[in-house]
């Protein structure tokens, strides 16, 4: 955690398992909603659960019809499990572990999120 203080200047930080990159400012994300972040060629959906004071991130690609859409989905919970519903056909995915909650689709990749000094950082697993 110590090293995160340096984040004011660095846009990425390496930890043991993750590369943490600075995505955007907290205010850039809608309350209780999501937005899409570009990381190289990757698109990552980031969600601000203002109610729970929690953040989640996952792949932006919906595995159902391979659409870059999850960041535009509605968020919510199913028995406490934070989830997102794809805007196309409302397939829902857990944001904690990426599992498809309708058990009809492949699971999705989720990423850890940290908030430091008003910035949102996303951890991408090192290869």
């Amino acid at each position: 955690m110590e090293q995160l203080n340096e984040l004011k200047i660095a846009t990425t930080v390496e930890t043991d398992n993750h590369t943490w990159f600075r995505a955007a400012r907290v205010e850039d994300f809608p309350a209780n909603g999501g937005a899409c972040v570009k990381y190289g060629d990757q698109q990552i959906a980031v969600f601000n659960f203002t109610r729970r004071n929690e953040w989640y991130a996952c792949q932006n690609l919906c595995p159902h019809k391979m659409q870059m859409a999850l960041s535009r989905g509605m968020i919510g919970s199913q028995e406490g499990e934070p989830k997102v519903a794809c805007p196309f056909h409302k397939k829902t995915f857990s944001l904690r572990n990426g599992q498809c909650l309708n058990a009809e689709e492949q699971n999705i990749t989720v990423y850890p999120v940290r908030i430091e000094n008003g910035f949102v950082y996303i951890g991408v697993a090192k290869p």
Binding site: D28, A35, C36, R72, S77, G80
Partner: protein, 833 residues
Amino acid sequence: MKRVVVVGNGMVGYKFCEKLRNRTSDHELIIYGEEPRPAYDRVHLSSYFSGKTADDLLMAPASWYQENNVTLFTGELVTEIDRKHKTIRTHTGKTDHYDYLVLATGSSAFVPSIEGAERDGVFVYRTIEDLNQIMSYGKKIKKAAVMGGGLLGLEAAKALIDLGLETHVVEFAQRLMPRQLDDAGAAILAYKLSQLGIAINTGKSTSKIEGNGKLEALYFTDGTVLPVEMLVISAGIRPRDEVAKSCGLNVHARGGVIVDDSLRTSDENIFAIGEVAVHNNMVYGLVAPGYDMAECVVREIVGETPKLFTGYDMSTKLKLIGVDVGSFGDVFGDTPGSIPIAFQDKRNGVYKRINISADGKYLLGGILVGDAAQYNLFHQMVVNKMPLPAQPESLIIGTPGKAAEGAGVKSLPGTAQICSCENVCKDDLVTQITEKGVKTIQELKKNTKACTGCGGCTPMVNDILKITLESMGFKVKKNLCEHFDYTRQELYDIIRVKGIKDYEALLNSHGKGDGCEVCKPAVASLLASIWNELISEQDTIQDTNDRFLANIQRGGTYSVVPRIAGGEITPAKLMAIGRIAEKYNLYTKITGGQRIDMFGARVDQLPDIWQELIAEGFESGHAYGKALRTVKSCVGSTWCRFGVQDSVSFAIFVEDRYKGLRAPHKLKGAVSGCIRECAEAQSKDFGIIATEKGWNLYVCGNGGSHPQHAKLLVSDVDTDTCVKLIDRFLMFYIRTADPLTRTATWLNKMEGGLEYLRDVIVNDSLGIGEDLEKEMQGLIDNYQCEWKKVVETPELRARFRHFVNDESADETLSFVDMRGQKCPPDWNTKTTR
């Protein structure tokens, strides 16, 4: 450890593995399948045409086999069985040893020996590969035929229609579905299918498949000719008994491996199950009996109390085709002394026939065409020998509605089989609810697998859940979702009375958890209906269409639909649309709602496009919202020689009055200038038809998948009265309908029906008329164009971008050319990024 080898990884072979592994992990289990992919759901094969992918259809992913210690070989055809040494051999030369061998090789489509059957353009309908070929060939041609008017043939015909082809069905017998329907039922079915655009040719025996290399025409024995470019043969099935035959097992003269009640073949270590098995001279071409056979063999192999296979009921319900058809039990009344009772309604395309026993006590079987809602209940009445009511004809005349069906489920015995695919009986479901604490349909499905096969039992399972919960003293309420213990109507009152203005406040005071994709848009719609404030203020509780004020399309771009009230537009505005569409490279199309849709806009382009449209005098068309869509018009008395009133002016007036009005579902209207009804007003939520004396107002009509004509509410009223009544009607609907319920469905469920509605709206029986009018006026006064607000407000505008951390657009978007305009690529062929 015993080694069990299964030949054929189809639906039944897979089910066998699943059932064996549910029992024991003691046996080695190896399965060989000829097809390139693991077993898939053949029953729902046709949904491949409507968007399902091959992966969607898999019975279980490849990882399932691994996790359950089942060795799967795909693309391996078993060609030899050496019974003496108990070994098998595949076409690639693989050999294996077995203690038990299970043949689940299914069947193949039967292709009659007709001259020319080998021509290009002749297909069968059995595997995913067949469908791929049909789809790609279908793209090149216009006219196709299906040989065979049975269950599968009609399903294939529907698929061809979905491919956009002119479709013919050729049937040898004098009627369609000769094994399931009688003449009267088949005639109604033929009529309904012809309305779907399928041409029916019965009593046709094909003599020759003609063409120069590829198919060009079918010749019939009666001398007639049908020119077509593609033929799908669906003339029955032939069990795949090749390997069984060559190793000397007993096979039936008409094909199939002969088995006894334990599904043993003439070799005691070899079993046959599914469509390849012949039991008692019968081949069962359905999954349920196949699954039942699998169960018997599993029990035999693990040494449980044996279960014998004693035949299976062949009742069937046709799915997918858009016309309900069911036949059950003794379909044709072959039981001596049986009495048929039939009900026929040609106008609505409904035919119902029941055969009752000579003593009038039992239902033996019957046929349902056009309305098969009672299929499950009737079927269970037959299987369980339930006593008939004193007037058995009451079962089929009149519409016995939901209540009757619920009561029917109540009287079923505990052993009644509800889900035939997974063999779940009523008691299994009830026990889950009473003893395992199950309260939702999802949990019931998960725990029992009911509804997961063909899905036909879902209504009954729902009824059982409801009735059982009620009998336990639970109040079964139509709660919105797990976050609100209220119905939509209750929430409507709460929001109004407490003056709640936003979702978060409502969730804090009356809900729990974080909300979800069900309650958020429902509450958003309520808030909009009650306060008519801008929906963009609370954008993240809106469906994506409402959030971005545009309809999301395949590929992730959006469409833009400006309002063109009544369908009237000036040449200058037409040119403006043309110019803007050209500038942003948008695909344009005239919609079914008499206006123009521009497709393919990126999310970041939307505000720019709207800025230009607004500058040209356009407003949002709310094509994205559960809101007023269009009020269509015909030209009426201004130009038309028959018109008796100015329908265009009235349509424009009405559309402008209710524009932006949010409701439980979308709302559509139309105004016709005379009784010829060119604006199709009787298919709208509110439709107005001009008369010599004024206007006739119709309400609660609907197009869509269950079209319903609107009902006449009042006749010959003047313009002011007409508008007043529409105000009241719409407001009453907004106040009381369930979420996502169109006016037609709302009326269908309304106690007292049209009479009651007329009492409330026209006679003001509840004394709320003035209230409703006032409320409507409030909403009308509050109207603003949502797009104008966005275009003018920088913070709102800033939300229309793809990335928060980058200005670039989504580079994964791609388009193909279609007749000179752009289109998104077909998403069914795109499997990976």
